[in-house]
C-alpha cells in the first residue's frame, strides 16, 4: 500500500511538471507563438523569446523542482536512508 501511495504521488508530481514543460515549449514557443509575438520584452518578441530562451530556463527550473519534491517525498516515505552503504 505504501508503495502504491508513493507511486501515485510521484505520478502526480510528474504530470504536473510535464504539463508546464509542454505549455512553455510547445504552447508558448510554437502553438501560440504568433499571438505572443505581439508582446515585446526589450527587443524580443515574446513567442520567439520563449522558443529560443524562456523554455530552456523553465526546463532547468522544472528538473530542480522535481529533485526537491522527490527528495521530500522519499524522506516522508523513508526511502531516502537505504543507500549504497547499507546494501
Amino acid at each position: 500500500m505504501k508503495e502504491q501511495n508513493y507511486w501515485k504521488k510521484n505520478i502526480q508530481y510528474v504530470s504536473m511538471l510535464l504539463l508546464i514543460w509542454f505549455s512553455v515549449s510547445y504552447g508558448a514557443g510554437i502553438l501560440f507563438k504568433d499571438s505572443l509575438d505581439q508582446i515585446y520584452i526589450g527587443g524580443f518578441p515574446l513567442g520567439f523569446w520563449f522558443a529560443q530562451q524562456g523554455s530552456i530556463y523553465v526546463f532547468v527550473v522544472l528538473i530542480f523542482v522535481y529533485v526537491r519534491l522527490m527528495n521530500k517525498l522519499d524522506k516522508q516515505f523513508g526511502y531516502d536512508t537505504d543507500g549504497e552503504e547499507n546494501a
Binding site: 510547445y26 527587443g43 530562451q53 528538473i63
Partner: protein
C-alpha cells in the same frame, strides 16, 4: 604569436590534460569500464553528461544552423534541452535503480527475452554509429582549418586520442576527461560570445545582448529582420517551416534525447537514485549555459556576416575570408562580374555560399577578436567532438562485449576476459568511426538529427512503458521497437537519401510528398507514436509478463537500495 602557434599550444595543452587524466583513471574491472564503479558524484556526472551530450553539432554547427534558420532554429534549442526533462522525470531515476551496465541490459531483463536484447543492441549500434560519424567529421573540420593538416590526418590524430583514454579507462577514464572537456568547451564557447556581445550591444551577457539595442540604437533583432527582408530572406524571428513541422521536429529531438543510449548510461554511473535525478538537473544547467548563448551568437554572426560581405567589393575582403575560402567552406562566384559580393535569397543571383558549420569557427575572426580566442575555439570544438565520440564508442563497445558476447554468445567468460573484449571492440569502433570521419556524410547536425529520430522511434517507448506500465510484455515491446525503427529508417532513406526515387537529386522534389508535411527530422515523433500504438495493441492480445518481471518493475519504482543486485 600567430593564430596557428596559439592553436598548437592550446590544443596541445588540452590533449596532454586528457591523456594525463586517462592514465590516472585506468579501469581494472568491467564495472569500472562500463559504469565507472557507480562512484561518480552528481556534480562530476552533470558536467560529464553535458560534455557527452554537447557534440560537434552543438558546438560547431548549431549556432550556424540557427543563424540561417532564424526562429526555426528553436527546434534544436528546445528539442535538445527539453529531452532532459523527460529523461530526469521519466527514465533516469528508474534506470539507475535497475542498476545494470547498458540500455540493452534493461530491455533484455525487463522484457525477459534475448530477442528483445538483440533488437535493442541493433538499435543502439545504429543510433550510435549514425551519431559518431558526425563527430569525427567535426574533428576533421577543426584540424584542417586551424592546424592546417589535411582532414584525414586530423581524423587519425583524433582517433588516437579517443582510443587512448576510452580503451584504457573505459567509462571511468571517459567520465573524468569529459569533466575537463566540459570546462574547455564552455569556456571556449562563452569567451567569444561575451566579447562579441560587448562589441555589438555593450551588454556582456549574450543571452540579454541579442535582445538589446545595437550601437546605432536600433534593436538588434529588428535590424536583422530588416536586413533579411532586404536580401529576400524570411524575417529572422519568423522562420519558414510550418508550425506542425516545427512541433514534430522539436518533439522528435526531445524524445530522441531521452532515448539516446550514450546519454542514458551516464546515469548508471552515480551512487544512488537521488543522485541520478540531481545530476540530470545539473547536466541541463550546464548545457543551458551554451544553449541559451547559441541563439545570441547566431544573431551576432548573421548580422556581422551580412554587414561585412553584402554588396562589398571582393577585393577588400578581410583575411579570414580567404582563409575559409581555401577550406572550400566559403565560396564566392562573381556571376555578374562586377567584383561585388551579391548575397541574396535568390539562388540565381546569389554569389556567396556559406557552409553553416563555419559560423561559430569563423565568428571570432569576423569579429576581429584576439588570436588566442580563435585558438580557444578550435580547442573547444575538439573537446566537444572528442567527448561525445568517446561516450558513443563506449556504447558501441559495451553493446558488443557485454550485450552480444557476454549475454548471448559466451556467457561463461570471466570478468577479465570480458574486459579484454570490451577494449578490443572499442578499438574496432574507433576505426569504423574514423572511416566515417574521413568519408563524411553531409552536414554534421543534419546527420546527427536523424540519430534522434531513430532513438525516439525505438528506445523511448520501450523503456517508458517498461517502467510505467507493469503489464507491458515482450511481444508488444519487441514489435513496437521493430516497427518503429524500420518505419523511421524507411522514411529517412526515402526522403533524406532518395533511395527509392533515384538518389540524392530526387530529394528536394520529394518534399511535397512528406507524410502530413512532416520532414524526415521530425518523423521520429510519428514513428514514436506508431511504436507506442503497436506495442499497446500487440500487448492486449498476448500474455502478461511473468510475476517476477512485474515485481522487478515495482522494485525499480522505489528509490531506496540502489546498491543491491536486481535479482
Amino acid at each position: 604569436m600567430t593564430v596557428q602557434l596559439w592553436t598548437y599550444v592550446i590544443v596541445g595543452i588540452t590533449f596532454a590534460l586528457y591523456i594525463g587524466i586517462a592514465i590516472m583513471s585506468r579501469a581494472g574491472s568491467t564495472k569500472e569500464f562500463y559504469v565507472a564503479n557507480e562512484g561518480v558524484s552528481p556534480l562530476a556526472n552533470g558536467m560529464a553528461t553535458a560534455a557527452d551530450w554537447m557534440s560537434a553539432a552543438s558546438f560547431i554547427s548549431m549556432a550556424g544552423l540557427i543563424s540561417f534558420m532564424g526562429y526555426d532554429g528553436a527546434v534544436y534549442l528546445m528539442g535538445w534541452t527539453g529531452g532532459y526533462v523527460l529523461l530526469a522525470l521519466l527514465l533516469a531515476p528508474y534506470l539507475r535503480k535497475f542498476g545494470q551496465f547498458t540500455v540493452p541490459d534493461f530491455i533484455g531483463e525487463r522484457y525477459y527475452s534475448k530477442t528483445a536484447r538483440l533488437v535493442a543492441v541493433f538499435c543502439a549500434l545504429l543510433v550510435s554509429f549514425t551519431y559518431v560519424a558526425g563527430q569525427m567529421r567535426g574533428v576533421g573540420v577543426v584540424f584542417s582549418r586551424f592546424l592546417e593538416v589535411d582532414i584525414t590526418t586530423g581524423v587519425i590524430i583524433g582517433m588516437f586520442i579517443v582510443l587512448f583514454y576510452a580503451v584504457l579507462g573505459g567509462m571511468k577514464g571517459i567520465t573524468y576527461t569529459q569533466v575537463a572537456q566540459y570546462c574547455v568547451l564552455i569556456f571556449a564557447f562563452m569567451v567569444p560570445a561575451i566579447f562579441i556581445s560587448i562589441q555589438f550591444t555593450g551588454n556582456p551577457i549574450p543571452q540579454l545582448g541579442f535582445g538589446s539595442r545595437g550601437t546605432d540604437g536600433v534593436y538588434l533583432l529588428e535590424k536583422l529582420n530588416g536586413l533579411s527582408a532586404e536580401l529576400g530572406f524570411a524575417e529572422y524571428t519568423q522562420g519558414v517551416k510550418s508550425r506542425l513541422d516545427v512541433f514534430a521536429i522539436t518533439a522528435a529531438l526531445m524524445v530522441g534525447t531521452a532515448g539516446l543510449p550514450h546519454v542514458i548510461i551516464r546515469f548508471f554511473t552515480v551512487k544512488k537514485v537521488s543522485d541520478a535525478r540531481k545530476s540530470a538537473g545539473l547536466a541541463l544547467l550546464f548545457i543551458a549555459i551554451l544553449y541559451t548563448a547559441a541563439p545570441a551568437v547566431a544573431v551576432f554572426a548573421r548580422t556581422n556576416l551580412i554587414a561585412t560581405v553584402s554588396g562589398q567589393p571582393y577585393a577588400l575582403m578581410p583575411q579570414w575570408f580567404s582563409n575559409w575560402e581555401t577550406t572550400g567552406l566559403l565560396q564566392f562566384i562573381d556571376k555578374n562580374g562586377d567584383g561585388l559580393i551579391q548575397y541574396t535569397a535568390d539562388a540565381l543571383r546569389n554569389e556567396l555560399t556559406v557552409d553553416r558549420d563555419i559560423m561559430v569557427l569563423a565568428n571570432p575572426e569576423i569579429a576581429n577578436l584576439p588570436e588566442w580566442v580563435i585558438a580557444l575555439v578550435a580547442a573547444g570544438g575538439l573537446a566537444a567532438a572528442l567527448s561525445t565520440a568517446a561516450g558513443l564508442l563506449l556504447v558501441i563497445s559495451s553493446s558488443v562485449s557485454h550485450d552480444l558476447v557476454k549475454s548471448v554468445f559466451k556467457p561463461n567468460i570471466t570478468d577479465q576476459q570480458e574486459l579484454v573484449i570490451a577494449r578490443l571492440s572499442a578499438v574496432g569502433a574507433v576505426c569504423v568511426a574514423g572511416y566515417f570521419g574521413i568519408n563524411p556524410p553531409g552536414f554534421v547536425a543534419a546527420v546527427v538529427a536523424l540519430a534522434f529520430g531513430l532513438a525516439a522511434a525505438s528506445f523511448f517507448p520501450a523503456i517508458m512503458l517498461g517502467i510505467f506500465y507493469k503489464k507491458m510484455n515482450k511481444e508488444g515491446a519487441v514489435a513496437g521497437m521493430v516497427v518503429g525503427i524500420l518505419l523511421m529508417l524507411f522514411y529517412m532513406l526515402k526522403f533524406k537519401f532518395g533511395l527509392f526515387d533515384g538518389g540524392m537529386e530526387a530529394v528536394p522534389g520529394l518534399q511535397k510528398e512528406w507524410w502530413f508535411g512532416i520532414s524526415p527530422e521530425g518523423f521520429g515523433f510519428v514513428a514514436m507514436i506508431v511504436n507506442f500504438a503497436v506495442s499497446l495493441a500487440i500487448n492486449a492480445f498476448t500474455p502478461d509478463p511473468p510475476d517476477e518481471v512485474q515485481e522487478m518493475v515495482e522494485y525499480i519504482r522505489i528509490p531506496s537500495g540502489a546498491g543491491k543486485p536486481t535479482h
